[in-house]
């Protein structure tokens, strides 16, 4: 066991539940700005609904831009949450124990954020429910051939499953909090949420089976959801999109970006709440290694895209990649390469993997790089399609920037509420990896 320290069952309870104390000034100082930016984002969206999508930077032929970039980015972020909580659970990778709750929270909130964008980007968002197959007297139905419809199912399934998984995993912990808190409203809420958990053997038996089942259920979603998202692009015929490599490439990218976001989130939490004994450097080392692997896959994909474009002999395909690296958007392309392939390279060294500052900085760059990866795939491909007469350049406007910033605020708003209301480290599972407390000898 790695936890060769003074952590005890009691201390775990104390430490985790202490995080739920009355919000401090610092918390409010973080929380209120998120509300402000969510408000700004909401204003931008209302403005856009009122005047039309033209207030965004869209133009022929770039019909998708920052909103879909944001969508893919947030879906990607969501992925490593499930990876860490479900996949690593099945692999019995103990380094997940301390961070999986935060990662799961991140997943749920990231999907909540991602789910907004397909609606925000619609030309007529007030008709968004037409995308769902519901019986209606007009006998209108949806088109199951459309990857966008697969998206609807993938994202809603993912949100449902990850929320259920998130919640199930928390039941014993909420019961522990319920036992601790005394004030009436909190007591009632936690009592309801704990579903009457008593911690009996019978309950534990079923609980662990259920948890295993959901972990197994969620695992394929890690692969399938982002594959489906990638098919939004891969199923079309546009040069730069029409490629079979997209599904694995997107999944690897999603895990890569998700791990980046986990580090970005946990480093400050660990510092602020003094969780150094829980989220250890070994945990980070494991994540850093995963980052290296996925960075390698992503880098390989970047190279293979060029090779395939050249090898295909299709001028439109080759030009697309030539243009990515040299055209108007070349800066973004090279930002992506540097952030995703070059900057993670120091992680090959143990000393770097165990340096929290280095990890934090690299994780920020990964977030940036992965956002631009999606932007590049979407926007650059669209701006240089088959027909040169229809080429054009896209630039986002303040509305899109406002909504993007708002989406980050929306995510952090949920996250901050989560930190103060739910146990951000799994109390129950932490105890699985702690030495069993010895009974004090009595006389």
């Amino acid at each position: 066991m790695s936890q060769q320290n003074t952590l005890t069952y009691a201390r775990v309870n104390d430490d985790v539940i202490r995080m739920l104390d009355k919000p401090t000034f610092k918390w409010w100082a973080l929380f209120l700005p998120t509300l402000l930016f969510v408000g700004i984002g909401a204003f931008c969206f209302i403005y856009q609904v009122q005047y039309g999508l033209g207030v965004a930077g869209y133009r022929h032929p770039v019909f998708w831009g920052v909103y879909i970039t944001d969508f893919v980015f947030w879906v990607g972020i969501a992925h490593s949450g499930t990876l860490i909580s479900a996949v690593l659970f099945l692999f019995r990778a103990n380094f997940r124990m301390s961070i999986y709750r935060i990662a799961e929270g991140m997943t749920v909130f990231a999907v909540l954020t991602a789910g907004l964008f397909p609606i925000i980007h619609l030309g007529r968002p007030w008709n968004f429910y037409w995308l769902f197959p519901y019986p209606n007297q007009r006998e209108l139905w949806v088109n199951f051939k459309s990857p966008l419809l697969w998206d609807v199912f993938a994202v809603s399934t993912y949100l449902t499953v990850s929320s259920v998984f998130f919640f199930i995993g928390m039941i014993p912990d909420i019961a522990a909090i319920r036992d601790r808190v005394t004030e009436t409203p909190r007591k009632i809420i936690y009592s309801i949420l704990s579903l009457g958990w008593k911690g009996s053997n019978w309950e534990w038996l079923h609980y662990t089976r259920a948890y295993l089942f959901f972990a197994a259920f969620a695992t394929p979603l890690v692969l399938s959801v982002h594959s489906v998202v990638s098919w939004d692009f891969a199923m079309s015929n546009l040069p730069g999109w029409h490629t079979t490599i997209f599904a694995p490439y997107f999944v690897a990218g999603a895990i890569f970006s998700g791990l980046g976001m986990v580090i970005t989130l946990t480093v400050p939490i660990r510092k602020i709440f003094h969780l150094e004994d829980y989220i250890t450097m070994d945990n980070y080392d494991g994540m850093a290694k995963l980052i290296l692997v996925t960075s390698g896959i992503v880098g390989y994909a970047y190279g293979v895209e060029f090779f395939m474009a050249w090898y295909s002999g299709v001028p439109a395909e080759w030009y697309q990649f030539y243009y990515r690296a040299t055209g108007e958007y070349a800066l973004f392309y090279w930002i992506m390469i540097v952030c995703n392939v070059i900057i993670p390279l120091p992680l090959w060294f143990k000393s770097m993997r165990s340096n929290i500052v280095v990890l934090f900085i690299i994780s920020i760059f990964i977030n940036i790089g992965m956002w631009f990866e999606r932007f590049n795939i979407i926007v650059i491909s669209l701006s240089r399609g088959f027909d040169p007469a229809a080429w054009g350049i896209y630039q986002p406007t303040w509305v899109e920037i406002g909504i993007t910033v708002g989406s980050f605020a929306w995510f952090f708003m949920f996250f901050l509420i989560f930190l103060k209301t739910l146990p951000s480290v799994s109390i129950a599972e932490m105890k699985e990896i702690l030495p069993v407390p010895k009974k004090e000898a009595k006389t």
Binding site: V49, Y51, G52, L53, G54, Y58, R59, H60, P61, F63, W64, P118, H121, L122, G123, R124, P125, W126, N127, F128, W130, L131, L140, W141, V142, N143, K145, S146, P147, L148, L149, V152, D232, M235, S236, N237, L238, V314, P315, A316, Y319, Y322, E328, L382, S383, G385, F386, D387, P388, A389, A390, W391, G392, I393
Partner: protein, 991 residues
């Protein structure tokens, strides 16, 4: 409260429900547009069946060509203009300007009622009675002296006669002014053949066409007619094509359609024509042995001419050889490039060339001459201006002309206008001239009025009102008659009180001349139905007059010290500026640059480098008369020593769409005239140009000139055409899915790129038919133009004398059999219909825009905003087509409303739709007849035959979209060098 059990619902509950439901509906509907009310007729007007259009034949008055039109009227509103197939001039086609006449009719900036400045300096609305009374008084007061002038455009018909009579009675003068009056052509014909007329030409009968500057596809004489003839001549028949060589310092739209563009030193066309003639005569190729001109021509040896004109001797010899041997041939002369100070001489030289090649009387027809030769000369306009300046004109009537805009500034027409005691304008638009008038009596547009127009001997076109006037306007003929009734001096002069009676009376003469054997009423009705009276005029034999040998062929004179020759050329979109107030024309991308909503100067790449400017920079162009500043468009089809700016923009008035947009190059033209004819010399300025520190995005709709190896607009060489083409046919067994099956109909189209001239009339026709929104310059700059058809133009490197070849390709929805847009729509808003159309259900669209992303051809347009048609432009909207609102994708559906209409009609008769039973809007308009639409399931149909032509190919067919549109390759007439178009050296501007 009484209990009412019967209803099962209490009144109060009902109200509650209604209240809640209504509130919900109000909240729900706040997202979309406000509800509009439909108000049914109480007493339906006679002759109007809702949903059933009426068609009226009439005559287009957007330029002097006088094409026949048919105007579609729905529920009392004119909604579409199409060419009249009965009319021998345009035989059913139309140009973009003709289509856009509707936006003149419904222009929101029309003068909406009579205006008078009787109280103050400001023009104020008055009633018609008051306006007519004012005019009557003025005529009584000032008319005694007889210093009255009626300045009109070319009104050749009955209105012209009425004005003549009226002016006679008042002792005044009627002056007809046309901006492009072609005086040198008339004078040259007088000198050469003793006939001071402008002939008609038979381009379709030629095998070899040599044009000296004549922009016959754009504005010259009769563009629709000549485009049609050109396409017949230049199109492929029996694996043969005609050859077209264009001589001009710049490759105009017409020039860009040539097989060889000869870039000639400005003003030296006469030398080249004589040089070619000499070559023909001296090499013994002239059928009439030079007709006695051999001696005179011998001074123009090929080498000498080559040195003077910058045209290589080889080229001159080649042209001479082809011109003589490929007959029948034809040389045309016209346009601004040959309208310098030696214009008449140049045209005489061209006449000589035609003569020695034996073309006169064959492809040049002096029987059916054009009436535009009857307009007053530029000298008359000059002397009118002088007398106005001297206060010798008491009353000036302005009718449909805008001389303040179209005359050079040096003439000072504007100031002269200030010295006229009383100016009356009949213009329906507040243009630069009209805004200086004392009294404005707005005329009906031709779509609202009775009239006639005869552009040539053989055609008497009738103009009939298609709808009641949109505004409080009145036909000028009626005004003249009614004012005449009030002026004492004119009492009893006119027996008719309405212009309609006067018109009919005047047509009795035509009826008498026609000796048709029917009574007048039948003749009148028949003429109305056909759009006019057409007769055959036999060609008139002509012979060259001895006078030509005495003509001295001088060098042209240029005014100014600058380094560059300056060409102000008429625009095929705005003509002399009158089209600039129509948003369709403003938003129709100019063929060569694809520029919209502005002005620019065409400049050669080398010159641009020398002046250190690039596309979008502003250049200050200074002549002896003034300076204009305009944007640079770098174009390889212009000589390095020439700058060219189109005419039509730069209005300081004329409504919201025209005002303060671009520059008017006429402003800096010097007052030079052609010595012999007295016509205005359009090409007489030398200018200097310097870069100014201003740069803006050059707003265009296509930012590349290059195909980037995509092989979109394809061509084959003449030799390949003759040998037959090897086909890489698509193998359907390679498909995963079985081919789609169609029953009865599979709508398809073929577009012949050898015929397409890039004029854009299909674009405007489509806009009119399908309620396609115009969006303005700012949104065009953001690539948000909505045109469903775009004319793609590419400059391909070529082994010809110009070094490049222009290719035009109209790109519209390809109605793919295997359409990428269809499977990706999550809500089935776009779907494949059983007749092969990619249907688009606007109401179902939620706006994911995935279809457009996946469209290989990028022909889908998205409504980024809800676009508005300012009242009453919205009256033009086609009620058969949904008006789209924000958030919805839209696209071409092959005019599905027309297809359905045709199917309905066929069903009534118990038949299938026959080939050619109807035409889609773009096909209908196309003057080149490049577009053929029809049923591909019908093996006898024209479109089936065209689609299986040897030259047929489908754009980007390797994507396996299986388009419903087949393009026929352009034919190149030079020896193909190795295809060389790498991507490296081409830097495209993007926006």
């Amino acid at each position: 409260m009484s209990e009412d059990k019967k209803g099962g619902i209490k009144r109060r509950d009902f109200l509650k429900i209604i209240g809640v439901a209504g509130g919900t509906a109000a909240v729900a509907s706040s997202c979309s547009e406000p509800v509009e009310q439909l108000i049914p007729y109480v007493i339906p007007p006679e002759g109007i069946v809702p949903g059933v259009p009426n068609y009226y034949a009439s005559t287009c008055r957007e330029c002097p060509a006088g094409c026949g039109i048919i105007v579609k009227n729905r529920e009392g509103r004119a909604i579409k203009i199409e060419g009249n197939p009965e009319n021998p001039i345009n035989t059913g086609s139309s140009c973009a300007r003709g289509q856009a006449a509707l936006q003149g009719l419904y222009n929101p900036d029309r003068v909406r009622s009579p205006l008078s400045n009787f109280n103050a300096d400001k023009l104020q609305p008055v009633g018609w009675e008051a306006a007519q009374k004012t005019l009557t008084e003025k005529i009584e007061e000032l008319g005694g002296s007889g210093n009255i002038v009626f300045l009109s455009n070319h009104i050749s018909g009955t209105l012209g006669k009425l004005v003549d009579e009226w002016m006679d009675a008042l002792g005044g003068k009627h002056i007809q002014y046309e901006t492009f009056a072609h005086e040198p052509l008339k004078e040259a014909n007088r000198i050469s053949f003793g006939i001071d007329k402008i002939p008609t030409y038979h381009i379709d009968k030629t095998n070899y066409l040599l044009s000296f500057g004549a922009d016959f596809i754009e504005t010259w004489l009769s563009p629709v007619e000549y485009t049609k003839q050109f396409s017949k001549m230049h199109g492929v028949k029996d694996k043969q094509v005609g050859r077209f060589v264009h001589v001009e310092p710049r490759a105009s739209l017409t020039g860009s359609n040539s097989d060889e563009w000869i870039s000639i030193k400005p003003g030296t066309e006469a030398m080249l024509a004589l040089g070619i003639a000499n070559e023909i005569v001296s090499s013994g190729q002239s059928p009439n042995g030079g007709g006695g001109l051999g001696g005179m021509l011998s001074q123009y040896s090929t080498d000498k001419v080559s040195a003077m004109t910058d045209v290589p001797a080889e080229t001159i010899k080649q042209i001479a050889k082809d011109f003589a041997s490929m007959g029948p041939s034809l040389a045309l002369g016209g346009g601004v490039s040959v309208t310098g100070t030696n214009a008449t001489e140049t045209l005489v030289a061209i006449n000589i060339l035609n003569y020695v090649a034996g073309n006169i009387g064959d492809t040049v027809d002096f029987g059916d001459t054009l009436n535009i030769s009857n307009v007053n000369s530029f000298q008359d306009i000059t002397s009118l201006t002088k007398s106005m300046e001297n206060g010798e004109v008491d009353i000036l009537f302005i009718y449909d002309v805008n001389p303040v805009f179209t005359l050079p500034k040096q003439l000072n027409f504007k100031d002269a206008l200030g010295n006229v005691k009383y100016v009356v304008s009949f213009s329906s638009f507040m243009d630069e001239t009209t805004e200086m008038a004392d009294l404005i009596m707005p005329n009906n547009t031709p779509i609202e009025s009775w009239g006639d127009y005869s552009s040539r001997e053989s055609v008497n076109g009738l103009i009939q009102p298609v709808m009641s006037p949109v505004f409080n306007t009145k036909g000028t003929g009626d005004v003249i008659l009614s004012v005449s009734g009030q002026v004492e001096k004119l009492n009893g002069r006119f027996t008719q009180t309405t212009f309609y009676d006067y018109l009919q009376n005047s047509w009795k003469e035509i009826w008498a001349g026609a000796s048709s054997g029917s009574d007048f009423d039948t003749f009148w009705k028949d003429s109305l139905e056909k759009g006019g009276y057409y007769k055959d005029v036999s060609a008139r034999p002509v012979s060259i007059s001895g006078a030509v040998s005495s003509v001295k062929f001088n060098e042209p004179e240029f005014v100014g010290e600058g380094d560059f020759y300056f060409m102000a050329y008429p625009s095929y979109r705005y003509y002399d500026g009158r089209g600039a107030n129509k948003p369709w024309l403003q938003e129709l991308p100019e063929a060569l640059s694809t520029g919209v909503w502005s002005s620019w100067v065409q400049i050669h790449p080398d010159t641009a480098k020398k002046l250190n400017v690039s596309q979008g920079d502003f250049l200050s162009i200074e002549s002896s008369e003034g300076v204009i500043e305009t944007q640079v468009y770098v174009y390889q089809g212009i000589r390095p020593d020439t700058l060219a700016v189109m005419i039509g923009q730069g209005h300081t008035s004329y409504g919201r769409y025209a005002k303060d947009r671009g520059v008017n190059p006429i402003d800096i033209l010097p007052m030079s005239t052609d010595e012999r004819s007295g016509g205005f010399a359009w090409l007489s300025a030398k200018v200097s140009a310097v870069k100014v520190s201003k740069s803006e995005q050059f707003v265009q709709t296509q930012y590349t000139t290059h195909q980037h190896d995509r092989e979109i607009a394809q061509a084959i060489s003449l030799t390949e055409l003759e040998k037959g083409i090897h086909h890489d046919d698509h193998h359907s067994d390679a498909d995963f899915y079985p081919p789609r099956e169609y029953h009865k109909y599979r709508w398809g189209m073929s577009i012949d790129l050898q015929k397409c001239v890039g004029c854009g009339s299909c674009v405007t026709a489509c806009n009119a038919e399908n309620n396609v929104a115009f969006v303005g310059k700012q949104l065009c700059a953001q690539r948000r133009d909505m045109n469903w058809i775009r004319i793609e133009r590419y400059f391909e490197e070529a082994n010809n004398s110009a070094g490049f070849q222009t290719r035009y390709l109209p790109m519209l929805c390809q109605q793919c059999g295997n359409a990428p847009c269809e499977p990706v729509c999550p809500v089935f808003a776009t779907y494949h219909n059983p007749e092969g159309l990619n249907g688009m259900v606007y109401n179902r669209c939620v706006g994911t825009r995935y279809c457009a992303n996946n469209c290989t051809y990028k022909v889908r347009k998205f409504n980024w905003f809800t676009y508005k048609w300012p009242e009453p432009l919205n009256w033009q909207l086609n009620p058969d087509v949904t008006v789209r609102s924000k958030g919805v994708m839209e696209k071409c559906t092959f005019c599905v409303q027309r297809i359905n209409h045709a199917k309905d009609l066929a069903k009534d008769e118990g038949q299938d739709v026959s080939d050619g039973a109807f035409k889609v809007a773009c096909e209908q308009a196309c003057p080149a007849e490049a577009i053929v639409f029809g049923n591909l399931e019908d093996k006898e149909s024209e479109v089936y035959k065209q689609s299986h032509d040897d030259r047929g190919y489908q754009v980007l067919s390797f994507v396996n979209t299986q388009p419903g549109i087949t393009y026929l390759r352009k034919v190149t007439q030079y020896e193909e060098s190795k295809e060389s178009h790498g991507t490296k050296n081409h830097k495209d501007h993007t926006g």
